[in-house]
Symmetry: C2
Subunit: 452 residues, 2 copies
């Protein structure tokens, strides 16, 4: 275990940890509607093209494009409107040369049409152009509200004199030529049949759920949510519901870590608080690891407990501790390990260190257990630093910061405080990262602030 005494930069340490996760958790089938935030277990392909039929993208007339060629304001094309295609119905109208069919946005295009002329570029012979537009606009309207028509018409269409379409057939003038395919959504233009729509390992967002349902995919195979065991250790730690006597501190880390586990799609399993006793800690850890997919030991802050954590992880199995120490502040004494493909982390006892380190190693591990290939990109804002931040080269520093709107954009003000102080994070909007090779940051510099 030559890495053991090394203090690695965080990116290298994370690679070492994620390399241990060789298998994705087994899949389970869930309703697509409930799959938000889950991760696809298999590649999903389109069972049919989308849209499955040609649709109009405008209110207007389905036409044969050639019938409009050369049409202009001064020399309009004349077409006979022989029917209307109702929404949600097949376009059972056969167009001959010189014929057109009324169609609404989203409506189906007849086989014999190949373009749509938008209503604004037409005029009904003998009427102002607005007549048809408004007649289209009021189909299905109730008399009860037609008195409000003068204020509720579509802005681009003036008031109209009639509320009924003229009797079919009627004649229109077309003032602008359309090309083949114009204003028409082609079959498969959204997705073609059998196209790969989502890869395995994709974290599902609202649009992904919508995309699946659009294809009638009502169920989806997703990775089981990882169960993450969380143990707090330290003779000084008591449950939050207890009154704290002298020397006693309530458990924070179990709950902050549980929240971060939930946000990453995992299920936190709180194992409680274990006294500073090797056997007790080993037994609790072994049980949680056996029934779970990942283990987090929130070590007490003293050296003795940190070292006991190392020994417990070593005894749990192979490879055990991967490294003890990460080149960051806060969080240097983090223990990164794995046992038989399950990540095992020993977090520093300080609440700020624990959260930052869990974000650095625990959150990516939870995603990776679900098979996520590219981790969801983290939200970052760009802000101007209000004061200097000192740092040491060779170490990544994470400084909590508060964000405020200033005249030139966001201003980031560091919230300085020891990593024992949870309220430095409560009072912060995000974290400023001082890169490994920089000796601090200057007031006035533009910096990236991770929303945290």
């Amino acid at each position: 275990m030559p890495e053991f005494f090394n203090v690695l930069p965080p990116d290298e340490a994370r690679v070492l940890l994620l390399a241990q996760i060789t298998a994705v958790l087994p899949p389970e089938t869930v309703a697509t509607e409930d799959a938000l935030g889950r991760v696809t277990a298999v590649t999903i392909t389109a069972p049919h093209p989308l849209p499955p039929f040609r649709r109009s993208t405008m209110d207007g007339y389905a036409v044969r494009a050639a019938d409009t060629y050369g049409a202009s304001e001064s020399l309009p094309a004349f077409l006979h409107v022989i029917g209307e295609i109702p929404m949600g119905q097949p376009a059972n109208i056969s167009l001959q040369t010189g014929q057109a069919a009324l169609v609404h946005t989203g409506g189906m295009i007849p086989d014999t049409a190949n373009a749509v002329v938008q209503v604004e570029h037409t005029q009904m012979v003998g009427y102002r152009s607005s007549v048809i537009g408004n007649a289209l606009a009021v189909r299905g309207e109730q008399p009860a509200v037609s008195s409000k028509q003068s204020t509720t018409g579509s802005p681009q269409l003036p008031n109209y004199p009639i509320t009924q379409l003229p009797t079919l057939p009627f004649e229109i003038e077309v003032f602008k030529a359309v090309a083949v395919g114009q204003n028409v959504l082609q079959v498969g233009e959204d997705v073609t049949q059998d196209a790969e729509i989502l890869p395995a390992g994709h974290w599902l967002r609202p649009q992904d759920v919508g995309g699946l349902l659009a294809l009638g995919i009502m169920q989806v195979a997703v990775a089981r949510r990882p169960c993450v065991g969380i143990l707090a250790t330290g003779d000084e730690i008591i449950p939050p519901e207890q009154a704290a006597g002298p020397g006693q501190i309530r458990d924070i880390n179990s709950y902050t870590v549980a929240g971060m586990v939930r946000q990453a799609g995992g299920i936190p399993v709180l194992g409680g608080i274990i006294a500073d006793d090797f056997d007790a800690l080993y037994t609790a850890a072994a049980n949680l690891l056996a029934t779970g997919d990942m283990l987090v030991l929130s070590a007490g802050s003293s050296v003795s407990i940190r070292d006991m954590t190392v020994q417990v992880i070593e005894k749990l199995g192979q490879p055990g501790v991967l490294l003890h120490g990460v080149a960051t502040r806060p969080g240097k004494p983090t223990i990164v390990g794995a046992v038989a493909g399950k990540p095992v982390l020993g977090l520093p006892g300080n609440p700020v260190s624990a959260m930052i380190q869990f974000d650095m190693f625990g959150v990516p591990a939870i995603y990776r257990l679900q098979g996520v290939k590219e981790l969801p990109r983290q939200g970052v804002v760009w802000a101007r630093l209000s004061q200097n931040i000192a740092s040491e080269s060779g170490r990544e520093d994470y400084v909590p910061a508060r964000l405020e709107d200033g005249p030139e954009g966001l201003v980031a003000t560091p919230v300085f405080g020891k990593s024992n102080l949870i309220y430095t994070l409560v009072n912060a909007d995000g974290l400023i990262k001082v890169p490994l090779n920089k000796n601090g940051l200057q007031a006035g510099e533009w910096v990236h602030v991770r929303i945290f």
Copy 2:
């Protein structure tokens, strides 16, 4: 209603909408542990200081600082160690001049001490300095694992010859002076008693939950989660589980909007698909609005349905439609309204428009109903644009984009596609905003990409 025919820029439109939300939803009490993502209903203050006692931030010796003044490598101070303060116990040791007490990180400091000397700056008289450090490190260790000690010791401490602390009292040399308060966390240094720890209207993150539990606050008053009624309209729209016949399209918007409602802390209430009939739509909308806190009508894409939506919102109550039309692409025909303090939105039928517009108006409204004063900052990344984007001045354009890592940082490639195509958003990682006053963006420009 003079605003009615105006097309407002999105920021002004949002101000108009949020001004209608005059009351926060009533509070309910939940377990703090389950309050992640909820919004505080009242200001919360600290019932006691944190920490409630003085704690050591180091492993070392609690001392009277004056006893170390002038100490150096060549002229150490000698102190008598008269006891050890166990973790989680009161520091019942009274120090006289020249005396010290062993203390662990996080341990309580005796009343008579005012600083901590870290163990690395001391040496036990007659031993190497490592002796005490390692003795501290192995308290509670089991013989079963002590054989692994050579590989598991803390990196900065060499192997030690003994596993027991010397019998008390013993003598140490101190090589470095400490100031009053050094390595000591003061009472209330994290939060003082009665300090305002969280304002009303605060969206609770993992660290906030931890901060509350650290103070023993086991329950918290939060705003009730807003119930958001969602109706889809359009004769062409069918439920996702149905096979789509010619001219029919499965409902997408109900589900993408429901996902966004959940992400913002609301409860989506799906009202189903309503035919293009004024009475049916009005009845369904009135029922959902009466039992809910907000209403979203995902209008069909045709002009007739959009206008019917306007009329329904007008009939639902005052003030009704606030504006019909927002200066964005996609999403211009959005209807923004409110009825008796409840936001009512009419979204365009196109799925891309619907999502972008709901993000622009619906999500802020859900937060505001819960009393959130400052909306959670949205995640943005900075990327170099791979190709030109055309736009029109006077309109905010939102262009879906895919992000890839390039040699100089992230590269954003626009996913062009009509706003009817849900897969433009499925295939995108975020949205590029082209500001109101810009005529497009150039390839090679650095742009903000909203994670979406």
